[in-house]
Subunit: 421 residues, 2 copies
């Protein structure tokens, strides 16, 4: 079938109809069959590694010719060890607990009706992502393993890599006896396809955007399909007066600098004025190459710090930069977080359990941590086995989203002839 | 404060800011205090019954002068017994189990981190509804009891009744020491206020529309805030070959005719051609005053039936009208439901458990029933104590939505100084 000549709306409608048909079969598919498809897909990735790497080289050549940045090229690049990790991830997703069919609750009514809420797949999931080709495998596998048909729309720069990886996924589906339309890849790379997906209400049940700010902003503006959005991670680490200085230093350095480009990386450090040793923390960060930004109070303690502007408090640096502010106690820290946070992840370091519990209860973020690095904000670290994103929205799923977040439920009512009075 | 002269956007922004502040307090409020506020509000409704009934008379007079239909006037009308029911409902909601603070799951990671998912309120809930003034009390109470601040926008025809009931709710909140901004009523009645609410992303966390098709269509088109939508209830009842004829007849008459205006009322009856006694069911419906619509096969059995048009299969009558079709077995019935249903409620009558389980598993609706009247599709009948609506969407909450559906969760991570390798 030649999709590439179709208008984007017609293309998405047709892919959506095929996805819906596949979703009906996938929703009833046993766990073992879905797992088998992913193990077979992993084998196909390993078996066709030379083809996938060659396709990736073609993408990289085009990207270099187009003058993409080194960071973009790095995200796009596959090599034997990265590709082995793609295959391993498929095997790991195949081993995850299947939420489909789980009974959430059951009750018997006085009239004898037996009610159950049972997890079922969402249906047709659309995933829009950018340059990393591993998302084709990860996201496709997570959606399929949770019983959904998925329509993948990757970045045009990764076109050939995505096609090669997608072929391996389809090989796995077919070998396991599941419909190949369970995981479809949008075959055209113009941006109109994204718009058509965002408007496809009733055709696509949920859109998961995985990308930078411009993608997310476009999705928020245009989508008529519900979105599981992953917005900014303006992550705060608050060092309380009662923090253990060594723990506070180790957590701060790890939270900020372990990897600076991940959404769980700390961006703003808040320090209680009564905390014993702020200088050691600021020095440790600066020594490790972190640019600090703060007010006079901060720069008096750590001369390497630069002045902070108003914008700094609302900025997700995703870089070795950290804004630092002193506060008077946990209440002022929570107030700062309420004004500047993005409801992603925020953490407190303290040995005072009452202060910690107040922070845990009152900070309105998807993830709130006590005495742990914010870099743990990750589906794998949470034991979910994987993640399709970290939801900063309040509806449906919040925080790391894996298989369960890609399901909904239905109510089953079993009676013996009851009529309602 | 005089809101009424403000532009709708500024008004909603200001009400939203007050709601957000109230939500912060409500999220931490103990169950006993929220319950007390509702019991006190119930007492205030009873204590100010003459005022509320007088306000309702003013609304009714305006509505009669404006030529509203008898059905509209009936929905608008309060009388002493209906008002007593409003107060009783507040007492009942006060006694519901509070989902806030419930621990959904807990896990300890190999590195010692302890993870909990804990239910928390959604935040600020907007409810847009039409003429029934009891919704002011019901919806306001459900949202507040689940820890949310709520902005209510009732129909202009019920303006005075809503204000009087709202005053009783505020009296309860104040007497219990909760912020009066926990339940706010939009003080202007022009339709621009609805648009301002629908666009208030970040100010209002979720909109619950409770009204007819035109409201829901507008909400679906305009909303930038997530919506918990209650769409059509094109409800099917399938009588299988293996149905018990007496049960089938009783369920069919109840499912169609107990109340025809509710969303759980059956609209289409599907009958297996091998079922023993279709004539008795069709006669019972026609005898009870139901207009039947079907093809030649139906009219050959029940001469009072009218011809059905193509539209009938996609119509929610909400009236004593029933479309009827014969099918060859459960697979054809499920295919009809997949093409014409609205994913609300669908039911099978059969004594064959395997057929029933196939229907329960494969019909993709919020509620799927076996040997029970579709009129049981109701939060109260499901033991939820109440309902703010029946969600036909797939995200967040599905089917009857009560307190739990008005909450989300957050992840709490408790550590002892862990950093991520």
């Amino acid at each position: 079938m030649s999709y590439a000549s179709q208008e984007p709306e017609a293309l998405i409608a047709e892919m959506g109809a095929r996805a819906r048909a596949a979703a009906g079969l996938l929703a009833q598919a046993p766990t073992t069959r879905k797992s088998a498809a992913l193990h077979l897909a992993a084998a196909a990735v390993r078996g066709t590694a030379p083809d996938i790497l060659a396709a990736n080289q073609a993408d990289l050549q085009r990207a270099r010719a187009a003058g993409l940045s080194t960071a973009m090229l790095d995200r796009l690049e596959l090599n034997p060890s990265r590709l082995a990790a793609v295959a391993d991830a498929l095997d790991e997703i195949a081993a995850l607990e299947d939420p489909v069919g789980q009974i959430i609750d059951r009750r018997t009514r006085p009239n004898g009706l037996v009610l159950e809420r049972v997890r079922v797949p969402l249906g047709v999931v659309g995933i829009i992502y950018e340059s990393r080709p591993n998302v084709t495998a990860d996201a496709g596998a997570l959606a399929m393993m949770s019983g959904n048909a998925v329509i993948l729309r990757g970045g045009s720069e990764a076109r050939d890599s995505n096609r090669a990886i997608h072929a391996a996924l389809v090989a796995g589906l077919t070998a396991a006896g599941l419909p190949e339309d369970s995981i479809q890849l949008v075959p055209i790379s113009d941006r109109a396809a994204v718009g058509a997906m965002l408007r496809a209400a009733g055709v696509i049940d949920i859109i998961v955007p995985r990308g930078g700010k411009s993608l997310v902003a476009r999705v928020q503006e245009e989508a008529r399909v519900p979105v599981l959005a992953h917005l900014d991670g303006i992550v705060h680490l608050y060092i309380d007066a009662a923090a253990d200085p060594a723990k506070a230093r180790d957590i701060a350095v790890n939270a900020k600098l372990r990897r600076t480009g991940v959404c769980g990386a700390t961006e703003t450090l808040l320090i209680d004025r009564r905390f014993a040793d702020p200088a050691a923390i600021l020095a440790a960060l600066a020594d490790a190459g972190c640019t600090l930004r703060g007010g006079d109070e901060v720069r008096a303690i750590e001369p390497r710090a630069e002045p902070a502007s108003d914008e700094d408090w609302d900025t997700e640096y995703l870089d070795a930069i950290c804004s630092v502010a002193f506060v008077d106690g946990v209440a002022e820290a929570m107030d700062h977080i309420a004004r500047h946070g993005s409801h992603h992840t925020d953490a407190i370091v303290t040995e005072d359990a009452a202060t910690a519990e107040a922070f845990l209860a009152q900070v309105d973020s998807a993830i709130v941590m006590w005495n742990a690095s914010t870099q743990f904000a990750d589906g794998g670290e949470f034991g979910l086995g994987a993640e399709i994103g970290i939801s900063t929205g309040r509806l449906h799923a919040r925080g790391p989203v894996a298989l369960e977040g890609l399901t909904t439920y239905k109510w089953l009512v079993r009676g013996t002839g009851q009529t309602r009075p």
